[in-house]
Symmetry: C2
Subunit: 328 residues, 2 copies
């Protein structure tokens, strides 16, 4: 029996993005007008300008209106407040870094919650960590999730790592995932999201390993975090079905010798964290996720617009009866 | 945060059987007549009679014709040879045990290959172990698989353990499965089938543990078997996503403390190999598979009939040109 080439399915993010885009197109069809996304560019980082151009191109190509507003960073706060109250503006994106310090986080909280397509408002982040999935008690309006972690979730759904035979909210039960990166922007929220969906997650950074789970039989309503003293990738990788890596810089490579045979490997770093030999052992490899991230941003915008239309419809329904009460 | 009840989805085999039955019903619709399944009862085992009645009921309720022929065991060979050449008979099932020794295996090979709905003919078994999936070089006629192992495969497909994003034939890549039972009838063929589909399988019996895989990156065309000296369930269970147990008798229980959190557990023994507490830890639990097995038998019968119709259509196509050649 002759040896053959290894079997690894390499999935490019544009293929996954296209699937999400067709959902978005059907969502856009019934809307009265194109949703308007406004981007604020106050950053001097060339990567921010590239990202702005990329947002513009993807938004306008897919049925959204887009305006780029280049604003001196000292005037950004006022510009945001104006956009917050402008009914013509449906969604706001700000290109970071601007000050490159905690003032950037302050600015993130200036964006109106109901225009925050990036999902960075404290209310959304709080909901995410607390595993609160809806904005309203009737559970009709889904909360907004930060774009990059949500892009990874959407990729895992596309790859059928989410098992739809299990109930919504528990579809990663039985999956073990290693996330290499524990930044506040991507790695930690991603670990929390995956654990809230039922996975056992090893969150790895240069300091240590933490385990995020909902406990045996998913008894907890949301994830809990346990330190794993002495653990390294040598402990996590051989037992992980899915390995998600987002280490910045071109130096870092995931040690492939530790991978489980047939693991699913996803890279969200702008550099390649997996050497090409990952295909010798992985069952599925997703080398980059950028195109999905930007589509997920548009999906968030669509959701925000839909939530607003639903809220208005409900308000209109209740108004006549209020008027009747006032008249009585 | 209060503890809640564990989350385990218990899936009964009739639900899975119903899905397969609706596929069978659409396959039956275009056929010129009801396929006829003939059951031969020469066994004195009361379980064999129960199984015969159950086949009869399921077959006739789902659009098949069924005849039970009760035959003295010394006359069974002749009765089978008669049925083999009777065009009215589409499928044959023999209820074992009859002699309870190797003569039963001899009788299994008497049944015509193109009427063997149980998939016990040497040709089918050989194809299965060799990972040969079709009967013809054009790959239009799928080989027949033995019913109980095939039932487990169909259950794993229903449970989305087979990942349809991966190519056909590799859809268990990355899955680790423990099969407790290595009988020639179920356990060994099942381990081979799962490994041929890309899984890493630990085949466990009272003697030892064997690993069935297609090697790193699924480079091999079919599975290979490696002994795991010194291994027991203590090594296999904690690393297995799926645990399939079929130990006869009511004494045996799978040691639940060794299960991986969120494992998928399937019992194919007539007794319960998993204690009810399996639900504390498993993500999915299938307590019995009998109803799927019998539906898979009908599915095999349908396939046999379809293969025969296709073969006849091809023969009819080639006949005129042969006639033309003879005339020329």
């Amino acid at each position: 029996m002759a040896d053959e080439k290894p079997h690894c399915k390499v999935i490019l993010s544009n293929k996954i993005a296209d699937t999400l885009l067709s959902e978005i197109h059907s969502g856009l069809a019934p809307l009265p007008r194109k949703p308007l996304l406004v981007g604020f560019l106050s950053s001097t980082d060339p990567a921010a300008r590239v990202y702005a151009e990329w947002t513009s191109k993807t938004a306008t190509a897919n049925g959204f209106a887009f305006q780029l507003r280049t604003v001196d960073r000292e005037e950004l706060e006022d510009a945001l407040l104006t956009a917050n109250t402008d009914d013509a503006v449906d969604g706001i994106i700000v290109y970071y870094p601007i000050f490159g310090n905690r003032q950037d986080q302050y600015l993130q909280q200036i964006v109106a919650v109901d225009k925050d397509v990036e999902g960075l408002s404290h209310q959304y982040i709080f909901n995410m960590y607390q595993n609160v999935r809806f904005l309203d008690p009737a559970m009709t309006k889904k909360s907004i999730l930060p774009c990059t972690p949500l892009a990874v979730i959407k990729i895992l759904e596309y790859l059928r790592i989410y098992n739809t035979i299990l109930p919504y909210g528990n579809r990663l039960h039985g999956r073990t995932v290693t996330v290499i990166n524990r930044s506040e922007v991507v790695g930690r929220p991603l670990a929390a999201l995956l654990a809230n969906d039922g996975a056992c997650v090893y969150s790895v950074d240069i300091e240590d390993v933490q385990q995020f789970t909902r406990g045996e039989g998913l008894r907890k309503r949301r994830h809990e975090v346990v330190e794993k003293p002495g653990w390294t990738l040598e402990n996590c990788l051989p037992i992980s079905d899915v390995v998600i890596s987002g280490v910045p810089g071109d130096k870092y490579k995931v040690p492939l010798n530790l991978l489980r045979e047939g693991a699913v490997c996803i890279n969200f770093s702008s550099e390649r964290n997996f050497a090409p030999e990952v295909k010798e052992k992985a069952s599925i490899y997703v080398p980059a996720i950028g195109k999905v991230t930007i589509v997920v941003l548009l999906r968030n915008l669509l959701r925000i617009v839909q939530n607003k239309i639903d809220a208005k419809a409900e308000a209109d329904k209740s108004t006549p009866s209020e008027a009747a009460q006032t008249a009585a």
